[in-house]
Symmetry: D4
């Protein structure tokens, strides 16, 4: 168990008061390696600095479980709930004022922070939009401004090229595509910023549930691309938010 | 065993001469289903119509084996030898006047036919060129004019777009790429003709010997793309040649 | 953003009227690389030349979404809708006069063009027919005459051989098979034209959802075979239509 | 199209009657390679010799389709229908007198032939029994005597060893197992006859739908083992029946 | 440790002589379950009945190791050594009179038995011949007559069909093919006997070291096909020999 | 068939009584190799020594089947039933007094033995708990004391480190995790005892049903880790129980 | 072909001089969609802004090829050459003053820019160091300060924890690991910045050339992780450099 | 950086001497969470208790690197070096007195401890012996007595059954096998102790480098089996040693 701050104080006071010998105190501090970690400090520190909401992965949890976890967490700030079905969202709504995005299956308990900077989110097709909505909602909940460019896949290159301005001036781009996943390479070849690629499970046959797009994105011949798990819009937005936060406010 | 033409003649003459009854002759002809196939006819027919050279797959054959097969085949026309190492090519050169392409590891014994039509062959990177050379050499040996656009991969889209003219006016395109294989989709999105995609084993790590490019091309979101085996430049050129041959000469 | 045609005219008129200097105009035209693309032109051009209908991939879209997209697209011509369930087809029928193929799950809003040339579509078994129907319907919607040879798989070779005439005289063949996918090789060995192979997800156990047939077709030892995605009857027909269109009308 | 027997007769009669010259007749017979196949002959021949019933793969066919196919086929003998659900079996029963095995999902329209020889069918566990029942029913429908040894997997070796007699004196053994598929190797190490191994999709996790058992069986370190597709009890029984038929009756 | 025959005799003699009580003897026999197996008996029994040679898998063993094992085994009959490189074969030749097949990398120490029956071995291409030679040599060493049909792959169907006689009258066929592995299905569709399919590692790209042919053969739509490991010519011949042996001699 | 104990006695008595000659008795004992195994002895022996309950794998068995098997087995002790749905558990409850764990889908008919020693079971996330409950229940049914540390995954390392005491003093640990499965390595790096890792199918996308965690655990860079099948909580507990039993009671 | 700047000027001058009508000029500009892209501008623009060196992928290129490419590129700045063997590096050294890192197989022609910010690069084991050196060298060549923490894998957690300071205060971290790849999750759980994970091909058996680590990292349960291709130290450093560049200089 | 023990003492002494206030000391101790871990203590503790030698993974390290690491480590006890080629072993021998096992590619610098308990190591074939030797050598270096049963694979079950005594009385068994890996299940079915299974990369074709054996072992239908990485003899022995150490000495 973690040594509490008060216990540490008391121990040191006893040393100062000669009630505990140096050897005994050293023994206590040494005996349990790792135990002295004031672990909670880490998380608290992070939340304070970033205003990051707590996150609940809703899949596989009952509405009742999500409600009781949310009750605990929302005392310290807003709570983001991913992979939340419409049914569970409805159940949640009876307990908290929530903002729910049905397409992205994602909800926020609490208020959105003021948006800063800009994250560009583009998709190859319309079927990739649910993943993009998860990403966009997450990014907004983490305090980012978001620009969405949907259905700009490489089979109709002109649609993508008509948004060159947004792409070439972005700070960070999330490129979401299923099937052959070529969007990430093309976007990264045009852009001058980190591109986070999200393969989606959209497709059939030899797309093998997103494997095709995943491999394609990992093998991107363009520099500046990294990849997250299949359909992981949340993860892409989380990292994109970290990158966006690095920019000075006046940029 | 296949009934020889002379045997068929003799049998029919015996029927005409009443030396063999109709029933007996029918029995002979019926007895062995399939046997009456004058099989050689098929191949001959094809060669006559197309002037297609015979093809030898050189890999796994010794120089001596290739020489003796070539000796037989070249009596009836030119012979194309694929996957031919430089050493074996040198051994061959002592016996026949050959044209050898070292990069594509491919040789022709005989003369190139006059080029007709046009096949556009483009590659994603410079490492894909050996496969492209196999394709280009094959296409020329089969009587096609060839335009090559090398190193026009999607990470530097401007290089590809600077060749829009060739792409948009092509009859058939061979798109060759390793890594993420996105070239096929982008080219097919721009072109208005069949695109035959060739994944290459170029790459490392999660390219898994060409699997990444293969899956990517099979999942192309652009219409008009079909795919051949990894590194199969010959196969792509063979089908492209068939397509090019379909066009009327004055086109 | 794409420069509109009217803007380009106005700019040039201002140059002609000396209201804008050459330098200023050049700057405008140069400043935003890529921006001057009159993108819509490409698609329009293609449709005009080919009479190709617009295509909607119906899977994953609601009936309402399909209806509203169709409303927009059908103004400029016919609309082909693939992967359309019977329920959605019924909903569509209330809005447009459609031709629906229940086996192929495919519909056309508009009229079929006059059929030209000929595309041969053969399947290994009866279970592959839904994919073949998708291909046949697509081919007809794109203006091709279609000959179907169903259930001519290699386990009963005589069934296939009894159709030698159709196979040996075809312009382009679509070979559709699941399980071991051997049909493509056998057909390509007999035929003298491009063969587009479609692996299907028919089978069980080690067919792994079509992977077995896919690999088999990619490794075809016959020349002239290329492959599309598992169950992609539409894609095969689209490319086959391009090839068929290459032939002179009188052929 | 296949030349009919009557046409062949007429042609030969015309030759005999000097109404058709030898050259003309030869031309007709030669012109269409392959066409003269009296294909039906093959199947008929096989059925006559073996009394093998026709087989319908029931999966993916409606009850109505199965009934109409059965109507045609049962005129020439019995009909075996595999992968037949209980619902469809009930529908069939209204039209034909059928014997149905619910566990093996398999039915016979017609009567079982007298059993000859002996095929031993053993399974690793009780969950493999449905596949074994498909095999046993098929074997019986093809005229074989069958001995079943169920649940004799290698984790309880004594159960298998208590049947050494049956195993060591068998003519042909079908070894059916999921999970690690070790049964085939152990049985083949004890037996002195061909062992046909059937991997089953029984298991979870890293059994990957039967892949584990399939690979295991293909890599058997015992001689005399060959393998059929996952869950393919029918295929194993079909080949086993061929082997059993090779033995002289008095054996 | 296995109880020796002499020990069993002695124990029973002591029982008969009343020197050991029934209870004591029962205890000895019961105490160690499994231990009483006179295991050697099994193998001896099998060898006597079949005249089967001992087999050494040569790969991964040094010439010295193979020589010393051979020395022991050849006392009881002939010895078959598979996967034996030419270098090791040369080393062996200094110690024993061996018959070596360089293409099949296989040797026999001892004499070939008189050939009985007939096993047909066919290959798709010339590159599959080494595997076929391993099979043919094994089959001969096990006392079978062998007919080889090499390079009769499905891409040139006429070559295969010109051997219909051999195929339709075979007792058992070994079909060996790499790449798409379609040979097995086509042969099994024509033949009326068990077909043992051997996928080979011949090919490149998406053949994945024989996986493509393996899956193709497992999914064969023809009845009567079973499969052994990739390149396992020995295993196929071993099972084929068992099947051939089942036929009565006068057949 | 296995020789019964009474038969062995009778045979030996006949030898002692000179009614059966030594040669005859030896023949009987030798004739059927393997047959003399008193197989049941093994299982009985094991149960007596360990008090291990019989185990039924409930998946794929009907409630009726489970009930009838349980009726037989529970005569000799308690019965553990894994993968038992709530419906089947309810049906069982009507026949036997059972303890059912709904989360772990596992039940015990009979009483739990007194707990000995200690097995630590930790999970990476809350979604892994069902597998952990299967393991915990099994361990208790086998007579082990259990300590559970749930949701101590490596993404929040402080949660894991706050339980250092339990981990560093454990006899054997079961580490259960899905997704990236890193828990096993981290725990094994801290602990000084065998760690049995259980990958779970928890996750999505590139977790491929537990494959990711499985590979991760097999490649653990920490010594002392072994792995069981995906989701196999039962198997891990069974082996852990064996290890725990090795310790002297006073430890 | 791309319209040159001089041609654009001339055209506009002709419009201004009324020598070309507005309509004609518009036609020229419109006729070839895409053609007007002054593509080179993009790359130049990027290099100017970032001072990014040109990059050559050395693998598969001869020393001669690399030298001639380098000669062209180094006129405009420094050149980074990855995957460069020692032999080729030696050949290069005769032509240019290069800095070569033998472990990372990477070289720079030109001078390193002044280092800014900080990128933390950590590896799981010593075998991962070559990939880390490629990353570190790349990062330095792109103008970043680099901190390396080698051999801090999770099996010895204390080594990692002793560097908590560097990890918790980093701007961006590159986590490089083979085998089970758990380092990325643990680091991301501790850090408060983007973590770019690089799986390495280090390992054997079920590491499958880096696949295990790749899947593990993609499934990381920690937020803020993205992944690049196996062994792609360059790609990770390139993206990390982009992120590091986002921070204001005084940070 | 880790706080040294002397620094901790000094700090506490300063508190005791009132030279440092309680607040200041608490700040120092709290400031860097995790930093106070006296990490080395863990490893030391473990070594003291177990007498476990340090381990070096020799693969991918030069002889010089191994020598210098060994020099440091052998001061505190013996050093085990795995995956050590004969060449490197020879180089090592010039510096330290080592015991080298050429087959297992493993060496010990230092002396073997007195052997305790017993670990049974069995292999399926002779080709698995190198992995078994790695395991046996490791086990001995960790202070265990070892019994080896080589070449007792399931294809010759009698060889395995003749060692029933050793198997049924073992404390822990390491079962090593390639190909179909059935040994583990059979052994675990007979034994009454933990079985650690080691798949080996022995085999060809569909063994896929050990994958077949790995899956087979993970799916073992016998209870009490866990699995380590392919060819990981060291890892199996390490865990087996932990289990063996659990037994009381007098057992």
């Amino acid at each position: 168990m973690v040594m509490k701050q008060s216990e540490l104080y008391r121990l040191l006071q006893q040393v100062a008061a000669q009630q505990v010998s140096v050897e005994e105190a050293a023994l206590v501090l040494k005996k349990a390696p790792f135990e002295k970690l004031d672990c909670a400090q880490i998380d608290t520190h992070r939340r304070l600095r970033q205003g990051v909401p707590e996150v609940i992965f809703g899949e596989g949890k009952t509405a009742a479980q999500i409600i009781s976890i949310t009750e605990v967490l929302q005392k310290d700030g807003s709570v983001l709930i991913t992979r939340l079905s419409e049914e569970k969202a409805a159940a949640l709504q009876a307990h908290f004022p929530i903002t729910y995005n049905a397409e992205g299956h994602i909800a926020l308990v609490g208020t959105f922070p003021a948006p800063k900077g800009n994250i560009v989110i583009c998709t190859g097709g319309t079927s990739d939009i649910p993943v993009a909505e998860e990403a966009a909602f997450t990014a907004k909940a983490l305090g980012n401004r978001v620009t969405t460019l949907y259905d700009v896949g490489v089979a109709g290159l002109h649609r993508l090229l008509s948004h060159l301005d947004e792409i070439m001036s972005a700070r960070v781009i999330i490129a979401i595509a299923g099937m052959e996943g070529a969007l990430a390479s093309v976007v990264a070849g045009l852009a001058d910023c980190p591109v986070i690629a999200v393969p989606t499970s959209v497709g059939y046959g030899a797309s093998f549930g997103g494997l095709s797009a995943l491999l394609s994105m990992l093998n991107s011949c363009a520099s500046g691309v990294s990849v997250v798990n299949i359909d992981n819009g949340f993860g892409a937005a989380y990292q994109a938010s970290m990158i966006n936060a690095a920019f000075p406010s006046s940029y």
